[in-house]
Symmetry: C2
Subunit: 352 residues, 2 copies
Amino acid sequence: MAGWRAEGSDITKRMTKRIGGWARMADVAKLAGVSMMTVSRAYQGNGRVSDATRARIAEAAATLGYVPNLAAAQLSSQRSRVIAATIPSLSHSQFAITLQGLADPFREAGYQLLIADCGYSAEEELRAVSTVLGHRPDGLVAIGVDHCPAARDMICNARIPVVETWDLDQPVMDMAVGFSNRLAACRMTEYLIAGGRRSIGYIDFPAPVVRRFMERRRGFLDAMGAAGLRSDIVLDAGQGPSGYARGREGAAHLLECEPDLDAIFCATDAHGVGALLECQRRGLSVPGRIAVTGIGDFDIAAEIPPGLTTVRLHAREIGRQAAGLMLRRLEGDTAGDKVLDLGFELVVRGSA
Amino acid sequence: MAGWRAEGSDITKRMTKRIGGWARMADVAKLAGVSMMTVSRAYQGNGRVSDATRARIAEAAATLGYVPNLAAAQLSSQRSRVIAATIPSLSHSQFAITLQGLADPFREAGYQLLIADCGYSAEEELRAVSTVLGHRPDGLVAIGVDHCPAARDMICNARIPVVETWDLDQPVMDMAVGFSNRLAACRMTEYLIAGGRRSIGYIDFPAPVVRRFMERRRGFLDAMGAAGLRSDIVLDAGQGPSGYARGREGAAHLLECEPDLDAIFCATDAHGVGALLECQRRGLSVPGRIAVTGIGDFDIAAEIPPGLTTVRLHAREIGRQAAGLMLRRLEGDTAGDKVLDLGFELVVRGSA
DNA sequence: ATGAGGTATGTTAGCGCTAACGCAAGAGGG
DNA sequence: CCCTCTTGCGTTAGCGCTAACATACCTCAT
């Protein structure tokens, strides 16, 4: 009787559910003639299931088009096999490269990346972080370190492993991979000074609230100050869709205000390329009359004549190493470095 | 006794769980002095909960740092509020822009994007698709339409709304937003021919298995054939990290094999910019001696002198409209167009 | 007064999966 | 021969949440 009722209601439910469309593990188990637990073990790979049984299960699953419901697995096992990644902007090419560097090792290790686009207001950011944490990721990788205090609190409260990337100039929540933006900008400035440049203009973003640009500007200011040079030729290039256009306009503005400029240092290569083109348009020989440099080593930097002198930042490697740190931690390895400085590389080309 | 046991085990569990760290809805309910269902309703926003109760719940949640477990919500409600997005490569700038265009409307509507990076082997692709479907997304947006038959089958079996994007030259699974790559390439070729170019070289990718490049090449061939011109000057630029470098090398190769070329048409602007620079390096005046064009209207196209003539593709709008179609469908609106042709725009600049 | 209809909240019964334990059958050592 | 150990599989009891159905109370027309 109880058996009959169970059977009956089960069939009814299947019929209803079929509209939704998904086969469940119980369906696979029934078709393969085993218990659900055996199917579960077969899918997890670690349990002991005989080859014959495994094959029957695979066949049944293929017949039904079974795809395991990971939400249910997560709820039951308390592990989501999801890694959250916060990113200020998906269309920022360097961040996208870091993301790609992250994605590969995680995919191979069986983790799915859940990407949270955070580059909005603090309120939106909090909502984005809250949503990804709602999926109970096993870890979080922050691409770029800019999070408002509330978001940082929320992340810390999650008590999951966290890797911050891209900037090492500030305190770290847990683990970090990147380089010192300040040092990178400082080094480039020193290179320009060593090359005899004295009147150096700097182009970055409006009131850089973004950490890495704050640090880059500070690096520039430090180096100029140490050399006893004017460090007030600093321009906010403003916001806009194209970094190239902003760099071009910024350079034009700078050159009009300070005709004696002998170098322009841009906080990113997009600005740098724009500035370079503007100098050339004005008939200023680069690097003879004026030097132009950037940061980032974007693909275009190597191609644009005479080649943009810049700082290479290992964007992909940052992602790979961040994934490595995270995976080691998830496997329970708490030894090893928590902060990886991947450094940077001055790339001297024709423009300076 | 039963009460005591329940209480006891509950406390024990809380202690154990606290290590994991997350407050549960039951904790919020207890602290706020209401039932779980009331908390659930307060979070879903649609149920009737008095303002006073709502405030007490909000306070309790804030105290405990409660973040709803979305996996549990999904399991129970059979809705994940997740939209899957498949993308061939995260670091492809145009796709990234489409992704951004997608992300905003979905975020506003309370959906989280789950991004599957698919640009690998067919086997990897299948695994990626299977994993995202395991999260039971409420819908799927395919950025780029390239999926192997097995992946397409799997997606169709999921019986969720699907929007394909970027290429409209082929049969559609469900809904689609994009333009005709073939027509875009055809139009550009016709423009070159109308401008008096007769010996036109074409640069794209190795054996284009990628649909949109197949179609673009076919568009080129169609137009050349229709004009009765040689259509065999076609070059696979090969794979490599930098599109610019490939375009440059491709142009160099083409110019050596066919010194009389009077135009080079590249399947993407990255190639186009590389080709343009190579022509200039060789002292060929652009557009006097030779025309160079691309497809995509990347930011750099407008900046590089004399300006790259290209085809604008509305990458962001594709994303926005795709999100719009999907959201309308999710709200139960099955009327309206299922295929949106956003067209393209010939952008004439100095290079042709 | 009285029942109809609304509003705010509680109760019950799962969603699909896995951890933890249980148990039978065979292998291997003494 | 027994005892242990290993292998292969089944049973039970939830994971944290919500749909669907109560229930209590309040308002208002009759």
